[in-house]
């Protein structure tokens, strides 16, 4: 890259300029914003009521008049249901990662900064949950406490706390060993000041990028929970649940049945590509 020597760029300026030249990341960010807007304004955008069943139109094929993306097994408009379905699916994807980010990052910061016994206690506890593959842990907790959105959110949050804690701890230990922390301490900064104005500021970027890739995992597992009947209950529109109820109809109208999965796939792919793009724009190694 040819650097302009007269005008040195700040770090964030160069990140921004790298992002501007990355069409894939920009497209993915655009698609995600689009899906979020569709979900928020679903009542204004959706052409039909997602709960209006029409027995005559059951499993109408894609492109039927009045049903641009066909109809589901109860004759409800697929397009409207897909638009509404983003609401729960996005909440199930974003909220657990966000809560886990707050809890996990705090645990990781404390463990990494304090070190010693505290580190041992926190990290060994997290190791226990590492003994479960993430899908299994989510299913185990949801299966034990029962179906429902709140329970799904709870189990997914518990799934993501350990990996976020581990990443935050690693990053905190790395930053803590840098010279400028010693310099801050030598100039009399208190522990709380070092954590707040030096460590958090520098650690949050990498932790945040890591979390964007977890959103895709969260959406896949959350829809998987709904698919198994451990998420929301019918007639709610949710991509995972729709996939599950439509599965019985693949011999009647296979391609309508595959549509909810396309939405899950698109959202998760965009989050992953965006996370990759942000990571390379911020020049980070994980």
């Amino acid at each position: 890259m040819s650097a302009n020597i007269n005008k040195p760029r700040t770090y964030w300026q160069s990140v921004r300029s790298r992002l501007r030249r990355d069409p894939v990341t920009l497209t993915c960010a655009g698609i995600i914003i689009g899906i979020v807007l569709l979900s928020i304004f679903a009542p204004l955008i959706a052409p039909a009521n997602p709960y209006d069943a029409n027995m005559m139109k059951r499993l109408a094929p894609i492109g039927s008049p009045g049903y641009p993306l066909g109809a589901d097994e109860l004759g409800r408009d697929m397009l409207s249901r897909l638009i509404y379905g983003g609401r729960i699916s996005l909440i199930m994807g974003l909220v657990p990662v966000f809560i886990a980010l707050i809890i996990g990052a705090s645990c990781g910061l404390v463990a990494g900064y304090v070190g010693g016994r505290t580190n041992m206690l926190i990290m060994r506890t997290m190791d226990i949950f590492y003994a479960f593959p993430s899908i299994m842990l989510a299913i185990a907790i949801s299966g034990a406490i029962g179906a429902g959105i709140e329970n799904g959110l709870l189990s997914l949050t518990l799934v993501f706390i350990p990996p976020i804690t581990r990443v935050s701890e690693t990053i905190t230990v790395q930053i803590k060993s840098l010279d400028f922390i010693d310099a801050a301490r030598a100039s009399g900064a208190s522990n709380s000041r070092i954590i707040l104005s030096h460590i958090i500021v520098n650690a949050l970027g990498p932790i945040f990028i890591y979390c964007t890739s977890l959103v895709s995992v969260s959406i896949i597992i959350a829809s998987g929970l709904s698919f198994l009947g451990l998420g929301v209950s019918p007639p709610e529109a949710d991509w995972g649940l729709m996939l599950s109820t439509l599965r019985q109809s693949i011999y009647v109208n296979p391609w309508v049945c595959a549509l909810p999965g396309v939405m899950i796939f698109t959202t998760s792919l965009c989050f992953n590509l965006m996370s990759d793009g942000l990571r390379s724009a911020m020049d980070m190694k994980m």
Binding site: A131, F132, M136, I139, I141, G229, V262, L269, N272
Partner: protein, 316 residues
């Protein structure tokens, strides 16, 4: 070296104990575990009697110790749904899940390692872009949806591959022949796609990083042939291959529930799914405990074999 093994073993022990505590407490997470079995009109005396039979009247630590003692000897109680010992059902199911996991690990994983190496060697070039595209698709795709799409294409539309069960006519006696292998193809692809993406991505990163190191340049400048250099590269990448492959074999076993449900594959995941719907807590508990312990032991084996490959990785 030997002291490292002991240390590593001692390190795994508290984790294993933690896992048993967690699995034990699963039963209490959903409220009173007896709600699922007791009829609504049970009298207080009946409830007390049942509690005594199952040992629920004892304090929790006592219950845990008794449960653990039985679990160690392979006694996971009786299934509420079928009345059979959980260990019998679980044993059969685990064999079926292992068949699926081994087939995935033997076919998909070497292929993913190959693709990742190819991409790492051609960093930034077309081959890398194609492989990276496949890999990110692999990690992003909801595998249960991919499984349904494959059923639509190969079973519904083309009618060339079966979509249910593990053998012709619902047979559960697995043998290695074409009729049974046909039943394996779709579950293996669906079950291993995410793992393959993860493996290809980490291989690509590992190989690209090793190729960037000084020692590779040194080997090149001293005139070593590319194939000999490749040997050194692979030798250095081996610990990370072992690490990620081990982790993903664990995920194959533990994450099998969705794929086994879709394909009615009578494995541990299928059993777990049934247990959840019947609120069959002994089966749920036993299955999760065995799968998690499998994962703990697998991690131990991976760590130890990594130190065999590269003595520098002795962890504290």
């Amino acid at each position: 070296m030997f002291s490292y093994f002991i240390k590593r073993l001692l390190y795994a022990l508290p984790i294993a104990i933690g896992v048993t505590v967690f699995v034990f407490s699963l039963v209490y997470m959903g409220g009173d575990p007896l709600d699922a079995v007791l009829p609504d009109d049970a009298t207080a005396a009946d409830v007390q009697e049942i509690k005594e039979i199952y040992g629920f009247d004892k304090p929790l630590p006592v219950q845990y110790i008794r449960w653990l003692g039985r679990a160690i000897t392979g006694d996971f109680g009786t299934s509420i749904g079928t009345g059979l010992p959980v260990a019998d059902e679980l044993g059969r199911a685990l064999v079926n899940t292992l068949i699926l996991a081994i087939c995935s690990a033997l076919t998909g994983f070497p292929f993913a390692v190959f693709l990742g190496t190819l991409a790492g060697y051609n960093h930034g070039q077309r081959a890398d872009k194609i492989v990276s595209g496949f890999a990110i698709t692999g990690v992003s795709v909801p595998h249960y949806w991919l499984a349904i799409v494959m059923v639509i294409v190969f079973s519904v539309e083309l009618n060339i591959l079966p979509s249910l069960g593990m053998g012709p006519g619902g047979s559960e006696d697995w043998t290695l022949d074409w009729a049974h292998a046909k039943h394996l193809i779709l579950p293996v692809i669906g079950g291993s796609i995410i793992s393959m993406g993860i493996i290809a991505r980490s291989m690509r990163a590992a190989v690209a990083e090793i190729l960037n190191q000084e020692f590779v340049r040194a080997l090149r400048s001293k005139g070593l042939s590319e194939s000999r250099i490749a040997y050194h590269v692979m030798k250095n990448a081996l610990p990370s291959i072992l690490g990620v492959v081990g982790l993903e074999i664990g995920s194959l076993m533990g994450g099998s529930i969705l794929i086994e449900t879709i394909f009615s594959w009578p494995g541990a995941g299928f059993l777990l799914n049934e247990a959840i719907f019947r609120r069959d807590l002994p089966v749920l508990q036993g299955t999760i405990l065995v799968l998690a312990m499998f994962f703990v032991i697998l991690n131990l084996i991976v760590d130890i074999s990594q130190t065999f490959v590269d003595k520098r990785i002795i962890r504290t």
